[in-house]
Amino acid sequence: MTYTGWILLTASLVGISSGIVGVFLILRRMAMMADAISHTVLLGIVTAYLVTKSLSGFHMLVGAAIAGIVTTFLVQWLHSKGVQQDASIGVVFTTLFALGVILIATKVGNAHLDVQHALMGEIAFIPWNTMEVPFLGKIPIATFILGIVLILVVTVIGLFYKEWKLTTFDPALAASLGIPVLAMHYIFMTLVSITTVASFDAVGAIMVVAMLITPAASAYLWTDKLLVMIGLSAFFGVVSAWIGYYFALWIDTSISGSMAFATGVIFLISFLFSPKHGMLSNWLKPQAGKS
């Protein structure tokens, strides 16, 4: 495959995984948790490096997933101790992120870790960092990991689709039917962390927030069916990745920033022109009613 092909494939995988996870994320009102996790992932990566002294993708994936779960747990715990939900999110992630930044800037400053890279990603380098995979041949490591993550996301969401739906819509009924609501909450947050970490090489930790939230929010304006919303959200994620890539190429700027911005453009279009919930139709409706 060509250089551009690999980049587009990698970014599309991010778009699909985040698009699917993102739908449940916004319906569960956990959008800001994604923001929090995307920051604390940094601490997870640094800690994984400090413990193992290696920069392998696998170690980082585990470290970051643990950081994600710890974040979720701490936020939940602070909230149960009487701190407002969003204040507890704010306290936890900023402190852990600051710790991560300090560890990088002081102790592990000479490692190949840098904050810039973790937050912005460097998708342009991905096609050169390859590995040998049986049957598939030489493929970029990041692409391979993202492929695995996509399979994981689709499997976990697909197998427990109706449980995800019910725990999201009505956790009280779910609990009374014997579905382990809290355990599913943590599983979901793990899924969010894994998606975030796997995407961090490609689009960077903060950009993945855009990919998680915005396409799902756009899809929410177009449909009233959950399955359709999931499909649309994944589709918007892929489209944003492509538009973002070519736009960045055109004006020669940050690819991941441009992809994040593209998700915003798609949202703006949805916000204005969606047939049911768009500004234009809202504006036309009362007019039609009056005449």
Binding site: K162, E163, L166, F169, A175, Y220, D224, K225, V228
Partner: protein, 251 residues
Amino acid sequence: MNILEVEGVSAAYRKNTVLNDVSFSIPKGSLTGIVGPNGAGKSTLIKVLLELHPKLSGNVYFFGTSLKKVKSKVGYVPQRGSVDWDFPTDALDVVMMGMYGQIGWLKWPKKIHRKKAMEVLDKVGMADFSHHQISELSGGQQQRVFLARALIQDADLYFMDEPLAGVDAATERAIMAILRELKNKGKTVLVVHHDLQTVEDYFDRVLFLNRTVVAHGNTSSTFTTQNIEKAYGGSVRWLKEGIGIVGTHLQ
């Protein structure tokens, strides 16, 4: 046999005790109204019984055993305000959620579940709305969908949290007709209720709750002015909140 046995249950939200030493038992085939002033712990009681909120002390027995063993026999209708009605789903789908326990893990709902959900929707008079997005329904219609979702669980014991709050008169009649039918079939129903005026018409048993059980028994013998005063804390407050009852009793 008593379907439900509650012994000395207490519960708290952080530092505030909401329920204190609550004990009562519910016989099979009864239709009980749980009444009490705002903040008396009515919703909390149901949540504690269903293990959705932790209890500090006490024991609860369902069908003589623990809730875990008889979960499929217990149905629950949460307050309408407890969910986000903007959720992307339609009425039929919400009703099918009641069967998720029966369908079991890893399986997707099948045609037969869909058919059964349609039948129940029809029963609550909502068949024409099966494919409407749930935010497009009125408050009464949403409540009927919730009721249908509970009916489809085919439970023996139902807990309903304010099913008659904010619904139109037609829905109120429809819901009460269904509750009576459930009772006639030998099912047991507990309803958190807010309107003292209708207690005598609707329920054969009444439970006055204000942090603890103030009075409990057959409506005819228990629904007295003294008990209402006791539950609602003094005649002044009672007059304000239960103004309707004054008229009926004076007559």
